[in-house]
Amino acid sequence: MIKLEAVSEVYPDGTEAVKEVSFEVEKGELCVLLGPSGCGKTTTMKMINRLIPITRGKIYVDGVDNTEIDEDELRRNIGYAIQDIGLFPHMTVGQNIETVPALKGWPKDKRRQRAQELLKLIGLKPEEFVDKYPSELSGGQCQRVGVARALGADPPILLMDEPFGAIDPITRVRLQDEFLRIQQEIQKTIMFVTHDIYEAIKMGDKIALMHQGQLVQYDTPANLLYRPKNEFVENFVGADRALKGLQLLRVKDVMTSSPPAVRADDETQTAEKQMKREGTAYLVVVNDERQFLGWVERANLRAGRMVRDIMHSSTATATANTVLSEALSLMLSSGLKTLAIVDRANELEGIVSFDAIQKALGDATLRSRAE
């Protein structure tokens, strides 16, 4: 879908920002351009939509040499989202999202409809947000609208330059998860620039690691971690690769589905019997709709008559798609050894124990992912 052939960028002052870079991104793949600042990753990305002219080499977009297409036409068919977002402050959220459709001359009702769809996709209520101005939104909401705007005219390709870079860590993780969910739905070919190796491992189908203008390794995240091509890659990946490897695994890979649970309205005796039967020291507590409420421990069983009276309420939960490193950090911060896994309606889906994560930490599981 995107093919770079010996692409070089030489600035007017003679510095070679990008040297003979060649690689290919398949349709529907998310390729992360990773590297320290100044390595040429943003330059490489901007040559694809010709915001920076190519000095030597060729870039093919969907099989066509991108210098043979009118540059504005080219850009209208490639979504573009940047770290500073650059929402138009004088336009409403809806008008912002409709920018490219408007440039392409879509009829008004089709544009409106598209904006509504996209707002729904990024999890903002259309009726509430479509007529708001960017100055009325939070940073995370602006970032989402920026992504929606890039998707405006449903382009097959998206270029994203550190789109979650300027956001606080908690919101960033949420936006990354949301974006991965969206990507599963829309299946775009994406070029994603970041300097954050955790983000790269989490988001990328492939990672193109760059250094001093050169492409060092183009590989899957697992191969980059466990089969580094040279010393630079090894050092860039760092010593804590096992920890970073946790970014590759998701809760659903290690969780125990349909765990034993009691209802808050059950008597403690019921809980005790169940614990004996299952041979565990704790149980998940749910309500009648199977929504997660908290935990009950064997040690506390005598303290009350109903489960409700003795349970520890908790809101620390993860979803099946949470990456293991985030699940682990949630455990550490909430002081729990087991994490409840819930779906979007907070209904219990399973549990993940610390032991399960520890087992996954063993290189074996991860190594098997590298070919």
Binding site: R75, I82, F88, S135
Partner: protein
């Protein structure tokens, strides 16, 4: 709002003062200017300001925008510097210089006022475009807007409030400076003020100065309203 209340009361005082002085018969040995004279001077004053400002806007705004365009950026420093010099020279000197150059009359006065009023218009047009967050322009370009579309749909609407503020400031300055036009044979309220100065009669000076100040306040107020109108709604929340 407080500022508006102060300006409004000042305006009432200034107009009352003008009416009071004009309805007197004599100040000392001097006749006061008649209603007729006062109105014709006010009208002449306004006309002079209007023409000078019209030229300043039609030169300053396009020129200020032009020097933000790639390819013309190098001109920004000399152009803004030149306009700066125009305003650094005392207004009296500029007006006085015009007489030997262009002869006595309305023309010299208007040219002098134009030179003096150009800087705020030019500077704000330049700053209005130049201070737009570069990310906004980059996003526009990255989405495939042509250069013309970026200028029309993004840069101009965002710069408009700043440009309008420049026009307002320039107009207010020009109303004051136009008092001096009488020295090079222009008309305007300066005629009354200057007569008062020569006659050493404070009230006569005020008969010219008070309506001038009132005119500055009124024009400033009108232009401020237009400015607010032209500010896109999305930008109003930030203020």
């Amino acid at each position: 709002m407080r500022r508006h209340a102060i300006l409004a009361s000042l305006l009432v005082i200034l107009i009352a003062l003008t009416v009071w002085i004009t309805s007197m018969d004599k100040i000392g040995v001097y006749d006061v200017f008649s209603w007729r004279d006062l109105l014709s001077c006010t009208w002449a004053h306004f006309k002079m300001v209007f023409i000078a400002e019209l030229i300043a806007v039609s030169v300053g705004v396009p020129l200020g925008i032009l020097v933000t365009r790639p390819g013309f950026k190098k001109l920004a420093t000399p152009v803004l510097g030149g306009a700066n010099v125009g305003q650094t020279i005392p207004s009296l000197a500029i007006i006085a210089i015009m007489a030997p150059l262009l002869g006595f009359g309305l023309r010299s006065a208007v040219v002098a006022l134009f030179i003096y009023g150009l800087l705020p218009v030019l500077r704000n047009a330049y700053a209005g475009i130049n201070n737009i967050n570069p990310a906004i322009v980059e996003a526009a370009k990255g989405m495939g807007m042509t250069r013309g579309e970026i200028a029309r749909k993004v840069e101009l609407p965002l710069a408009l409030p700043v440009i309008m503020a420049g026009i307002r400031v320039s107009t207010i300055i020009t109303v004051g400076t136009a008092e001096l036009a009488v020295l090079v044979g222009g008309a305007g309220l300066g005629r009354i003020t200057l007569t008062g100065v020569f006659a050493r009669e404070a009230l006569l000076i005020l008969q010219g100065a008070a309506p001038t100040a009132a005119m500055a306040i009124i024009l400033g107020f009108i232009l401020e309203r237009i400015e607010k109108r032209m500010t896109p709604r999305g930008l109003q929340f930030q203020i």
